[in-house]
Amino acid sequence: MIELLARHSPGLPEWLTLCVVLYSIGLYGLLTRRNAIAMLMAVEIMLNAAALNFVVFDRFSTNQQADGQVMALFVIVMAAAEIVVGMAIVVALYRMRGTVDINQMNSMRG
């Protein structure tokens, strides 16, 4: 089994496909979920897809500087900060409107 895995360890295309799939799931969630918290979760998935992308390229690149891993760490930190702000906004919205249904947040309609 180990050998099988070693012989068939996934290459760059497989990893990138995984990234695209993750990103698309996030985007789909962002555009379709009505719950604001669910949308924030979808954004997290998209951010993690991007972070994974960095790590994948770092793993397959020739130089051994670990730049991509550093960037992935940055993305994680930034995502944490972003979710703090996003959740604060959602909580404020909930207090004001009594709901987090994004379809009812349409006071900017033309």
Binding site: L31, T32, I102, M105, N106, M108, R109, G110
Partner: protein, 663 residues
């Protein structure tokens, strides 16, 4: 200026400035709080200005005694408007015999009218406003008279127009007065359009010719360095006129000099109410009577005559323009005199008489030439005497109207017993205007007739003699009807003599009307060599006096008694009489032209075009923007996920394009 000119000469600006200051002070500070004081202060300022004018005249004629050279002085001026280097308009005071003459006439008549008005307007609801406007008028008129250049003349010209408008419409709650003031303003403004184009032509070509001129006359060496292309001294200069007339550019075959002079004359004709721009003056009688005496008889309406006199060398050089002046003047004097014989309103008769006399002054200017300048002197002489006797006639009419409370002569009658002073002064003025020796009108008319005869314009001479007869006829008609016979109306029965403040100025004017004829005008006002008083020319005196006496006799036979002969004569003339009484239907012609042709055929299509095409175009662009915005706003759903979808689609689209371009 030079050391030996007197104090008044250096402070000549005081003459127009005093009424201006008093206008501001009375209008802003005094008249709202102290009605009586407004009249007193306004009157005092004009009296002060009058004294200044007398002192100035005395100083000028001490420096340049009668009979000698009379140079044009500009003792005080400053640059007011600089259009560009070499073209600036000055504001200043020009002193020469005719400006002094006008200053004296304006300040004297204005002071007397102010005094008279204190009594006449007593208790009127606009007492303070009245004196404010009267001061404004006097300032503007004096500014016009002393103008050293045509720009100041034009500015003050419009100022007298607006003060005339304000005073005609003084009783602003009376619809006929409002209509009359609008009519006066529009007609004179229309004429001023011509004047303005004339001013523009003169200053444009004046500016172009100016460098040539100053090289030729040696302007700097001769002390003319400060001359501007709009100054009258330059515009009247023979060298300039010769260059201007010799320009190749012509308009419809007439030279630019003649064209610009004709345009200037159009402005003068509007202000002096020459045919066919005369229609505003009879209606202007809606204003208070002292205003008619001051503005519409003695001073403002002679502004046109003064303008022509001021530019006389230019008119004379053109020749054609002078002829136009002569014939328009002669026609107006006859036309207005004929209408004057039929009017029933005492002030309207006097208004038509003013028109007729202004025509006289114009024709005198028109017949004189650069060599034969008697007409110039005669015109100024008649302006001088006419101002006194016509102001007196209006003041007399005002006193009568004040006593009888009607304007119609047929409701007056028998007033000589009740108003003896008014009667005597009115009789003096009537004799003066009829040209009976030894009253003032005799001498000035005599000089005009002599000028017309001497210049060889026999038709104009004939017209003028005929008009002299008509003048005597219509003046004695109103005199007999008003003062003789029995009182016809309720007002006439209860008439009383005017108060002293009214009859004293009248008495003074009566003295002036009686004696100013002996003033040796030719010694003071002349161009070139003084021609001297030509003495009594029997060829002129006999027909003029004969016609005047015939006129008086006809008036006496028709209107002394119950006037049944006049009624019978009117009935016999039938439609002719009716046409004359309706002023030859000129007003109706104007109404037809303005309403039926201009309003209906021109203004209405233009209004339609403006409303539908211009406004419609603007509205359409507004509508398109608004509805476009509304359509686009449908995209703004307010749903953040819709925006996200559009954004994602957009990014995908851009990526696709970049990808297809790069791969």
């Amino acid at each position: 200026m030079d050391g030996d000119s007197g104090w008044m000469m250096q402070h000549a600006w005081l003459i127009p400035a005093l009424p201006l200051v008093s206008f501001a002070v009375v209008g802003l500070l005094i008249s709202p709080y102290w009605k009586k004081g407004a009249g007193v202060i306004a009157t005092l300022s004009i009296v002060a200005s009058m004294v200044c004018a007398y002192v100035l005249a005395w100083e000028y004629f001490t420096l340049y005694p009668a009979g000698g050279e009379h140079p044009i002085l500009v003792p005080w001026s400053f640059e007011w408007l600089r259009y560009q280097p070499g073209l600036a308009a000055n504001v200043g005071v020009l002193v020469d015999p005719i400006s002094l003459l006008l200053m004296i006439v304006v300040t004297t008549v204005s002071a007397l009218v102010h005094i008279y008005s204190n009594a006449y307007m007593h208790g009127d609801y606009g007492f303070g406003r009245y004196f404010t406007f009267l001061n404004l008028f006097t300032f503007s008129m004096l500014g016009l008279v002393v103008a050293p250049d045509i720009i100041q003349m034009y500015v003050c010209w419009e100022l007298v127009g607006v003060s005339s408008f304000l005073l005609i419409g003084f009783y602003y709650n009376k619809p006929s007065a409002v209509a009359a003031s609008k009519k006066a303003f529009i007609v004179t403004r229309f004429a001023d359009l011509g004047f303005l184009v004339g001013v523009l032509l003169l200053s444009f070509y004046g500016y172009r010719i100016f460098p040539d001129w100053s090289a030729e006359v040696g302007a700097v060496a001769n002390g003319l360095a400060g001359t501007q292309p709009v100054d009258f001294q330059y515009l009247n200069d023979p060298v300039f006129l010769a260059k201007f007339a010799a320009l190749d550019t012509t308009f419809l075959g007439i030279s630019l000099l003649t064209l610009s002079m004709c345009l200037v004359f159009m402005g003068a004709a509007g202000k002096s109410a020459m045919f066919p721009l005369h229609i505003w003056l009879p209606d202007a009688m809606e204003g208070p009577t002292p205003v008619s005496a001051l503005i519409h008889a003695a001073t403002m309406v002679v502004a046109g005559v003064y303008l022509v006199a001021r530019l006389f060398p230019a008119f004379a050089f053109s020749g054609t323009a002078a002829l136009l002046v002569a014939y328009v003047g002669a026609f107006t004097s006859l036309f207005a005199a004929v209408i004057g014989t039929t009017q029933d309103d005492i002030k309207r008769v006097l208004a038509f008489s003013t028109l007729s006399q202004l025509g006289y002054m114009m024709l005198a200017l028109g017949v004189s030439t650069a060599e034969h300048t008697l007409g110039y002197t005669a015109s100024m002489f008649h302006l001088f005497t006419h101002a006194f006797f016509k102001a007196l006639l209006f003041m007399g009419a005002g006193a009568v109207i004040h006593a009888v409370h009607t304007n119609s002569i047929w409701e007056m009658g028998g007033l000589w017993r009740k108003m003896p002073i008014t009667h005597i002064t009115f009789l003096v003025a009537t004799l003066a205007i009829s040209g009976i020796w030894p009253f003032a009108g005799f001498f000035s008319k005599d000089e005009i007739l002599a000028a017309a005869l001497g210049s060889g314009h026999y038709v104009i001479f004939g017209v003028a003699v005929l008009v002299a007869g008509l003048t005597a006829f219509y003046m004695f008609r109103i005199y007999f009807v008003t003062f003789w016979g029995k009182g016809r109306g309720a007002g006439a029965a209860h008439a009383h003599e005017a108060p002293a403040l009214m009859w004293m100025p009248m008495a003074l004017l009566a003295v002036l009307s009686a004696v100013t004829g002996f003033f040796p005008m030719a010694e003071y006002v002349h161009l070139g060599e003084a021609e001297g008083h030509h003495g009594i020319n029997l060829a002129v005196v006999i027909p003029a006096t004969l016609f005047a006496l015939i006129g008086i006799a006809m008036a006496a036979s028709l209107y002394i008694g119950d006037g049944h002969r006049a009624v019978a004569l009117a009935k016999m003339l039938g439609s002719v009489h009716q046409t004359i009484k309706q002023k030859f239907y000129i007003d109706e012609v104007y109404l037809f032209i303005t309403h039926r042709i201009i309003f209906h055929r021109i203004a209405r299509p233009i209004a339609w075009f403006d409303k539908r095409m211009v406004d419609g175009g603007v509205d359409a662009s507004g509508w398109a923007t608004r509805s476009g915005g509304r359509a686009l706003s449908l995209l703004q759903t307010g749903q953040v996920q819709t925006y996200g979808l559009w954004f994602t689609g957009g990014v995908a689209f851009v990526v696709l394009i970049l990808w297809s371009a790069l791969v």
